[in-house]
């Protein structure tokens, strides 16, 4: 009597058994997933959006984790109200110090210049001088079109990099508008790119 309830009982028990086996498996999966699963701090991605505003570089998703040798696309948007930049900085502390001491020096030497004029002057210096320095520093570490991207408010840019060495790469904004004589970075406008081996 295949449909008697006695028979059904044992059939159901088999189902229970199966589901119990399912749990055992699930429990093992739990262990595996938790121990060897994806990095809880984030997965390497190949597309990041960086939004710049006063005075942060925010990335989505966070944190920025990239695999060595894989091209990664950054979509950079200036959502602030002043000019910002994204610049690869080998030594942030030194660079920031340099910029702000330069600003202060200019101000001391030319007391008749307004803040805007000083910033303009430094911008020029910064563009020519730093560009070379950075190109030099990034050589062999990363491939990309430019390592210093300046954006006016509302402007955006898409660019691609391929990192060749694992490590932490710091990006920062060294503009001065609004934080004069300090750079935006000193207000916290920087972020880190974590480059890992695959």
């Amino acid at each position: 009597m295949p449909f008697s309830s006695e028979y059904l009982g044992s059939t159901l028990l088999v189902i229970v058994a199966l589901s119990v086996v399912f749990f055992a498996a699930a429990a093992v999966a739990l262990g595996y997933y938790l121990v060897f699963g994806e990095n809880l701090a984030g997965l390497p991605q190949n597309l990041y959006t960086l939004s710049l505003s006063e005075y942060v570089i925010e990335s989505s998703p966070e944190p920025i984790i990239v695999e060595v040798g894989k091209p990664v696309v950054f979509k950079i948007v200036n959502e602030g109200t002043v000019k910002h930049e994204v610049m690869f900085v080998p030594n942030l502390e030194m660079m920031a110090e340099m910029i702000s001491s330069m600003a202060m020096k200019l101000q001391r030497e030319n007391p008749d210049l307004s803040q805007e004029e000083i910033i303009e002057q430094i911008d020029k210096l910064h563009d020519t001088m730093m560009e070379e320095m950075i190109e030099e520093a990034m050589k062999g570490k990363a491939i990309g079109e430019e390592f210093m991207i300046e954006l006016e408010p509302g402007e955006s840019r898409v660019t691609t990099y391929t990192f060749l060495e694992p490590g932490i790469y710091v990006i920062a904004c060294l503009e001065l508008t609004g934080t004069f004589p300090e750079a935006h970075a000193q207000e916290g406008m920087f972020n880190q790119i974590i480059v890992v081996e695959g």
Binding site: E6, G9, S10, L13, V14, V16, A17, V20, F23, A24, A27, V28, L30, G31, L34, V35, F36, G37, E38, N39, L40, A41, G42, P44, E62, P63, I65, E67, N91, L92, E93, A96, P166, G167, I168, V170, E182, A185, Q186, E187, G188, F190, Q192, I194, V195, V196, E197, G198
Partner: protein
Amino acid sequence: MFHYPFNPSELSETAKLWWDLFGFYLAVALILGAVIYASLVLIPVLYSRSRKSVDEIKPGVVPGDRGKTLYLAMIVLLIIAAFMSIFVESYISVNKLASLIEDEYGVNVDNLEQLQPGEVDGALIIEVRAFQWGWTFIYPNGVESDVLYLPEDRLVIFKVTSDDVFHAFAIPDLRVKIDAIPGQVNTSWTIPEKPGTYRIQCYELCGVGHAEMITKAVVLPQDLFDFWYKSMGEELKGLEGKG
């Protein structure tokens, strides 16, 4: 330097402690669980009524006690032994939570809440204030921030309190969690080991904004952290000077 994927137990010293323990517990649970489940499922199948005709239950007769004392004692002892192993492991791990930093940094964990900044070499003491609904992190140099910046590879001690109701301060990935209680300072510590951004969230129901008490902990390499810490501190001094 970095290999992907990061093992979650490498994210911090406390995470390592946690994952080692969790693995131990999981192993014990899976081994015991497998045996128990196997018997729970097999016995009813093997001894279903169609195969046997035992009937020791008689209406109106109080069933007697069954089971040889020897077997019963063995079962009880076996379970107690399993318990002992768990207990010993817990005891060691709880002590480890204290001794890990006691040995290395010479901190007395019994009165962490009285620690003053600078008292422990190399440690960073951060005051965490929870409120409805958000967080303020106060650094020894007076910097206040709503995002938590942490240095890599350095002992960080959190002194946690609340302005209004109970909250719980947690950085789950780093295995930090401690209640924020009005009128009381609780402490917790960790040593972050991997730069990155981690979720901070409140783990104790604190009103309608509870779900939104999320912010981030950014672990930076030492030099970058120092840059942030110093320039924010100078910023603050500048402001004070002017004001």
